[in-house]
């Protein structure tokens, strides 16, 4: 592989990299100038050709998503920047917002122009207060420089950008939950179809794109779709921000081409495991992905295809490393508790099932597990998640993919480390 030069994070270590003067000094907003002289359809076409796939988790083609926006509708169109980063193990969007907010904003303006939107939102997770303050300054700079507002850079294109704070709810990262939340309601995901492109915010056509996805856009416009496609894996190309956390020496965000090996990420970029302990298990794509055993982890490429082959997913590219000292039953309980807390409560299998999982896992951890608990854990995960088939657009037994997001990891813990669960339960039997 050719030496890869970071694209999105090239300048993040430089002084004042978050400011407009700095961003302009490294070619910032050149792509916007170019776009304003293009037809919106040509922008959509370029992004489609780049095969940019969403960086939030689902990995849907960005250009195709834009293409669903009806052209003949006279309703207002909305773009929402999904900055509600809350998938455990994921902390890349926060980095982009802190270090290079104008890159993301330029992407937002490009996307808004492409779908003919005049009001765009940044839905930022409520806890990111510092980033919220910083983005307010970013917008002020942009309005001042006529990069936002009326007649942007002398064109006849107008765009207002509004920052909207969430208030602590993981489910609002799901795009229809986010839209409900923006409308001033609890973040209950909607039944699809209709998809947001047809009926989104205030029943109007809406596109929801992730921070990192938007940050890719100026580079695609500047260097072209072919350049983007030349980076990393063929079926999901481009640079990607991989987050590595857990038990590693050097946790952090590493920008690499799609398809880098997980082994390289963990043992080279993230410096391996402290005290040379053994690798035990890894979440490759946030806590919603099925975990990989050490053996599987050492033999996988970080792209959409290879991880699906391993019956997991790239998701948000949030890698959580667990070494030999991490108790798999307790880790499973930790994750189940997260989902039980965050279940929005709309669908019964998820609302009740997540609570049952926590109760059962707590009982096992506390030495009160029963021999048939293992089977019951399988049964409950099946009842929440069903058997998903992404190729058919299936969404299991719940309205949104949250059901799978809890069923997959919990099931993978039990399947791959059943011995550890059994040994907790056998201790009980021995005592009895």
């Amino acid at each position: 592989m050719n030496a890869f030069k970071p694209v999105l994070t090239e300048h993040i270590h430089q002084k004042d990299c978050h400011t407009l003067p700095f961003y302009k000094s490294v070619g910032g907003y050149k792509a916007l100038e170019k776009v304003l002289a293009m037809q919106p359809d040509a922008v959509i076409q370029e992004v489609k050709e780049s095969n940019l796939r969403g960086r939030g988790g689902a990995g849907f083609s960005t250009g195709v998503k834009w293409g669903f926006i009806p052209k003949d509708s006279d309703q207002p169109k909305y773009l929402i920047n999904n900055a509600d980063e809350s998938e455990p193990g994921t902390f890349k969007d926060r980095l982009l917002m802190n270090k290079t907010p104008h890159q993301m904003l330029e992407g937002m303006i490009i996307a808004s122009y492409a779908i003919n939107c005049n009001t765009a939102f940044i839905y930022i997770r409520g806890e990111f207060y510092k980033e919220y303050q910083l983005l307010k300054e970013t917008l002020a700079e942009a309005y001042q420089a006529n990069l936002l507002g009326q007649g942007i850079l002398g064109s006849d294109y107008n765009l207002e950008v509004v920052i909207h704070r969430g208030a602590g709810a993981y489910i609002c990262g799901e795009e229809t939950g986010l839209i409900e939340s923006l409308e001033g309601k609890r973040g209950w995901p909607r039944i699809k179809p209709p998809f947001p492109a047809i009926e989104g915010y205030l029943h109007c056509p809406t596109v929801v794109n992730n921070v990192e996805t938007l940050a890719c856009l100026p580079h695609i416009i500047n260097h072209g779709a072919d350049w983007f496609k030349s980076i990393g894996s063929e079926k999901g190309p481009g640079p990607r921000l991989f987050c590595v956390s857990g038990t590693v020496n050097n946790p952090g965000v590493f920008e690499e081409p799609m398809g880098i090996s997980l082994k390289e990420l963990i043992f080279d970029r993230a410096g391996g495991i402290p005290e040379n302990k053994q690798l035990k298990a890894v979440f490759p794509g946030g806590s919603s992905s099925a975990i990989l055993t050490a053996e599987e982890a050492l033999d996988v490429k970080m792209d959409f295809e290879d991880l699906v082959e391993k019956k997991s997913m790239l998701g948000s590219a949030g890698v959580i490393v667990m070494d030999e000292t991490v108790d798999m039953v307790q880790a499973c309980l930790n994750i189940a508790r997260f989902y039980a807390h965050e279940s929005c409560g709309q669908c019964t299998p998820c609302r009740e099932g997540t609570a049952w999982l926590v109760k059962m896992l707590t009982r096992i951890v506390n030495g009160q597990g029963k021999p048939d608990d293992i089977d019951m854990l399988y049964e409950i995960t099946d009842n929440i998640g069903g058997r998903i088939d992404f190729s058919k657009g299936s969404f299991g037994k719940t309205i949104c993919p949250f059901g799978e997001a809890v069923a997959w990891p919990v099931r993978s813990f039990v399947e791959k480390f059943e011995n550890e669960f059994r040994s907790y339960i056998q201790q009980v039997e021995a005592v009895a």
Binding site: R125, E127, A167, L182, K185, G187, S245, S287
Partner: protein, 163 residues
Amino acid sequence: MNTMATPQEKFIFANPDKVDRIFSQYPDKKSATLSLLHLAQAQEGYISGSVIDTIADLVECHPAIVMDCVSFYSMFFTKPQGRHKIQVCQTLSCSVNGADALVDHVTNKFSIKPGETTDDRRFTLMKVECLGSCGTAPVVQINNDYHEGLTNERFDELLESLP
């Protein structure tokens, strides 16, 4: 409309300009709900029944709809909290990097368990789910600020520095 509040003074936003500015940003009134709740909580410290009534009047909906939001989102509190809300992330990456020890530290030092407030109302301790800063685990949010990569010692210094 006054269904949620017990007899108490009507809540009034201290800065009406900010309220106007919030409304001016959205194409409809109800979308302003979360922003108004944030603004009210910054002023009052928590969301009282009269805050809910005032916001419901402003956004033109039933107070139950506003209450729905308050109960759904973890950042809104319906009771007064301590001056400093110590929110320790307990999700996996923080958990395997010493988050439990940070919780125990506060519990031992101030005799409060998660969910409790010190008698002098200086601190409220909470365990929270993923704060999205896993690369600098363990992470604690105190009010609006993140404190990352904490050791027990640094955490202790930090707590001591808070009035």
